[in-house]
Point group: C2
């Protein structure tokens, strides 16, 4: 970036230059320039050098997002061109329709699995786990990055038959870039601060991802906070805002320079009537819509988790998955694309539209039921960008029939698609599915109230597009257990007029979903057996009566400060822990600190080394003990035997702790890790007293 | 609420009823009804009874907000009516213009000061302090509530000459209601959980306040989080959202029922062109506007703090303030209202408009410079609600002159108004001032680019209203050190189209303001000498090198577990601490826990009691020691001598701690409170190494 030389004292530098009897020209000028650069650097970095990295993060992610979108768009156009060019030969058309997604998904799966098997899936559950402090080595590597970018591009290019999205993997990608930038800037800081900075960068990374996917900076930050963390500092939120704004600006700027738009506008701009967006009694319909979305999301989450489990149990699929994951993906893609063939069942599912066009069409500000009263309608041969909604229209089924059919079919197709082991996002399909629920609901309301609800003179039609926005927000919010999808939907459409009804729908849907099902991400964490603490409301009965005593791990291997070689060797061979408590003496058990396994190993090594060198004088070697050689980490947090489960849970969440020791009057009596905590909470939920 | 009877076993109840040979009719039916009610109660409360209280909080605050607005509106109309009715007599007009605000502010000050002196000011700094865990008894009492409601209504009714707002006191009011509701629901929970629940209610209270002031639920939550806390749990954020949505819905519903509007709409609805809200190069102007607002906010914050200090130093004012605060307020009100007299200087400051109308007029979507090209303009005799902007127009000064004059005059008038010791909010005036800066900036841009910037065929005019929105968000954001004012401004105007430029302005303004000045609220906390930890960025040089060792308090009064009466008496008389560390023995100094002063006092009392009763056997009394009688609280957090200042700061902020003990290898060596921490951070900022 800037030159390092400016850091030195200019005068010393000058002497140094003169002494070397320089062959470089203009020594004085160069010194001055260096001084100036140094000054600029000091001024820029005085607030903290964060903002440069955050800016870089935002810009890089926007560029990646734009590039992927651009490539995917070209590939989709190519597919569509091929499909059109084949004329009336149905077999060829069918083949071109199905082979393209099959090839792409199979390649995506194969590539991802061979380069880095960890790149499969959305990556959000893993990011969430990493942010709780668990180290998942493979998930932030450059190999994973490559696999994910290529795999995701192919998945997206497979298009609407496969019906998968971009957000999840993009959050993961963004975190990888953030981790990389974080490592870059990790200089001259101590370990604690360093870890903290890395964490901050990761949180900002998640925010940038969402905002540069949708050009929605505010909800990007909020959504990422809700999804990936349970606790956050206002400081992180500012960082996130800055990075997300940079990302969103860049992303929308690129769209303008690519001549997609005249100026910076929302991604799925709607133009609802802002003077009368909805009538007061419609609030009740929005509440009902929220409840419907909540119930549907529970069904979806249940089925999705069940199918993921079934695939791991069914012997045929397990064998197939073990051998050839790509074949499995190909088979699923074949099934999905056959069903969506536009001359088959696909004509009742608007399958000629891409994902973007589907969302555009559902957010349409016209009331379709009014439009269909025009008798001379017919679906065009090629998709008409001005009248996307015609794809949803069928003379026999009407729009209600097609949307309902779409909802029924896509339900299981979406559940099936999520089982494919390739990089893919599951947020966008869920969002789109919710929009379809909302659209259907809105059209039904419009059918029953063709002239609006209160008609005192002015005709205020029902706007089903508003219901589509609310449905999208409510369903995706319920599936992911977040509220900020409300703002996300509004930012994506660029209109705030529906904010209150949308918020109400999202709140109702969330209340139902959070009551009965874990979120999509938590569900995946459970299925993948990643470390996880269940959601836990303090109001759960008895949570404050349960102390650490019944569930803590009493099977400790404490290290006494004065121990030597033999005792340490014993401890290390008898226990596989990575961290050991250090106590004053075996009798008193006063907790002094903790020592890492690696430190103890180092102690043993140094001991053996010493022994061989000064072979004749073992006494000098024996004098050294653990307390003198190893660096004992002081204990900052500890639980007591009277700490309630509620409080312990809170501490683990706030501090991202992995292990805490339990003391009773200064004496070590046990330890609690996330595993014990999880078991205790699960037992409590089942009504058992933890043992 | 629901009847308690349902809790009992129905059968026992039945027997009980039969035994009493009931004179009440329908015993069986009543038992069944009771059972049903009990079931409903169990179902409703199974998720936690929070939501009922949160709902109540939202509704109550919306009702209060609406009632205050309604009252203030009527009082303003009355004032205006009086002013109009007085015909052409300038003296009478001047008197009616000035006496009304003088009387109201004097009454507001007098009432607030006599009922509860703590009710003066905005209350946000105190709420912020309370949320860090400090107990400020007087600030959440019912007396304070009454004083604040009455005082605030009078302040608001004094109108635009006084130029004060509603948000701050409303946050305070909302927190009082929240604290009251929190105490109501505090049943059958342990102490820790209870404290936590109270905290949660307070956070929700702050969120509700902002959202039911402006009908802006999302930014209400975000703004309150940014202003009052430094750390928060996603769980609190959901609670806040729920309560804020209820509050905003109710507030806007009341406006509809009061026939102010046809349906739920934004409070200051704008109607900018959503197809071309701004041109790309305008982003640069928005950045410059952000920088201007940032610089102005620094000047404002500096002057405001200086004046607050000056008033406390100047002997004349100090004497006046000590004797008659109401007179001081009256004098200030006389000055302010004389200047704004509409037939004097006021005609160049649009002083005939109320605060709401001022904001409406500044957010106007017309370009004034275009409108003023119409030669036949003249300012109407009475304010024209359709053309509020005409109040800003003067044939000699032009709109530029009036807005500039407004900015210059209101700057010092606003600073002066904030010194009046009465309940008043300072957010709205700052927001309005920012809107005026933005409007002036936008009109200047429109003057230089009368035909828009890129004119390829279509004419896209500059929209100065957009700049006004950005200016309002940026200036208020810089003064309060928050980013969510960006969203607040958008929610208030109901349009999202300017989201990116507004965010950019706010970010730039904040970067400047946060670098050079403490926020408005922090400034007040400093002046009022409330406990406060300075904002502290980890990137500050050396923050990680400073350990607790140099700044901790070594002057401890540890209590030994085996101590009896005399030792405890000694400790209590020699130290005024409220919490004492308990150690194993004076030699080992192993930290066992902490004990509250009240517990030790109780110990002494029990001792004396025992002594008098069993006078003959002092040995039995002497046997009991502190460890046996007092409940010793276990230590959950402790610092070590190697903990860095950065980490210690983080822990205090996350855990809302007041006191932490410092140990070295299990041994107690010192303690750190917020006072020590603050001193260490301030010393570091001054470049000193803390001693």
């Amino acid at each position: 970036m800037t030159r390092e030389g400016g850091e030195n004292d200019p005068e010393t530098e000058e002497v140094f230059l003169l002494e070397k009897n320089l062959w470089k020209p203009w020594p004085h000028t160069r010194t001055k320039v260096k001084g100036c650069l140094g000054y600029v650097k000091r001024v820029l970095f005085v607030v903290g050098d964060d903002w440069i990295f955050l800016f870089a993060l935002g810009v890089i992610m926007a560029l990646i997002s734009f590039t992927i979108d651009f490539t995917v768009n070209k590939m989709l156009i190519a597919h569509w061109w091929l499909f059109q060019e084949l004329g009336d030969n149905m077999l060829l058309k069918f083949l071109s329709w199905t082979v393209y997604p099959i090839a792409l998904t199979a390649f995506s799966t194969g590539f991802a699995q061979s380069v880095c098997p960890e790149s499969a899936g959305s990556g959000v559950p893993e990011v969430k786990t990493i942010l709780t402090g668990v180290v998942l080595e493979e998930y932030l590597t450059i190999k994973n990055f490559g696999a994910k970018v290529v795999g995701m591009t192919c998945t997206l290019a497979a298009g609407s038959p496969i019906f998968l999205g971009k957000v999840g993997p993009f959050v993961h990608l963004s975190c990888m870039i953030a981790a990389y930038l974080g490592r870059m800037r990790a200089s001259a800081t101590n370990e604690y601060e360093n870890k903290n900075k890395q964490y901050e960068m990761l949180v900002a990374g998640a925010a940038v991802a969402v905002s540069s996917c949708f050009g929605a900076p505010v909800s990007g930050v909020l959504f990422s906070v809700e999804v990936v963390s349970s606790h956050f500092a206002v400081r992180h939120y500012w960082r996130g805002f800055f990075a997300a704004t940079c990302g969103a600006c860049m992303f929308r700027l690129l769209a303008v320079f690519n001549s997609e738009q005249e100026t910076i506008l929302a991604l799925f701009k709607t133009s609802f009537d802002i003077d009368f967006p909805f009538d007061l009694p419609e609030m009740i319909f929005f509440l009902v819509l929220g409840a419907v979305c909540g119930v549907m999301s529970c069904a979806y989450l249940f089925c999705q988790r069940w199918l993921l489990g079934y695939i791991r149990r069914n012997s045929v699929i397990v064998k197939l998955m073990a051998m050839e994951k790509a074949v499995y993906s190909g088979l699923v893609a074949l099934l999905l694309s056959s069903i969506t063939f536009p001359y088959g069942l696909g004509q009742f599912m608007a399958s000629r539209l891409t994902m973007k066009e589907l969302l555009y069409s559902l957010f349409d500000n016209n009331t379709w039921i009014v439009l269909t009263q025009n008798a001379s309608l017919s679906r065009p041969h090629v998709v008409d960008p001005e009248n996307l909604w015609l794809e949803w229209w069928d003379p026999t089924f009407t729009v209600y029939g097609t949307i309902a059919f779409f909802l029924v079919m896509k339900f299981w197709m979406l559940v099936l698609a999520t089982t494919m082991p390739m990089p893919a996002g599951y947020f966008m399909p869920v969002f789109l599915y919710g929009a379809a629920i909302g659209r259907l609901f809105g059209e039904v309301v419009a059918y029953f109230f063709p002239n609006g609800i209160w008609t005192d003179g002015v005709l205020n039609l029902i706007i089903p597009g508003g219901y589509a926005v609310a449905g999208a927000a409510a369903f995706s919010g319920a599936v992911t257990h977040t509220l900020s999808t409300a703002l996300l939907a509004l930012e994506m459409t660029g209109q705030l007029s529906h904010i209150l009804p949308v918020l109400l729908s999202v709140l109702v849907a969330n209340a139902i979903a959070q009551r009965y099902q874990p979120s999509f991400y938590d569900g995946t964490i459970i299925v993948k057996k990643l470390p996880y603490i269940p959601r836990f409301w303090g109001s759960q009965k008895g949570s404050c009566m349960v102390t650490t005593d019944p569930y803590m791990n009493r099977n400790l291997a404490p290290v006494v400060k004065s121990w030597g070689f033999r005792d340490i060797l014993n401890v290390l061979t008898s226990s596989a822990d990575t961290e050991f408590p250090v106590v004053e003496s075996e009798g008193s058990m006063v907790l002094l600190g903790s020592v890492a396994r690696s430190e103890l190993l180092y102690f043993l090594h140094s001991y053996t080394g010493q022994d061989t060198v000064v072979e004749g004088t073992p006494s000098s070697g024996l004098e050294k003990n653990v307390g003198e050689v190893c660096s004992i980490q002081p204990i900052t947090f500890q639980l007591s035997t009277q700490t309630s489960l509620y409080q312990a849970h809170e501490l683990f969440e706030i501090l991202n702790a992995q292990l805490m020791f339990v003391t009773d009057g200064g004496k070590l009596v046990g330890s609690v890790t996330r595993k014990e905590l999880r078991k205790a909470i699960e037992d409590l939920a089942l009504g058992k007293t933890p043992v």
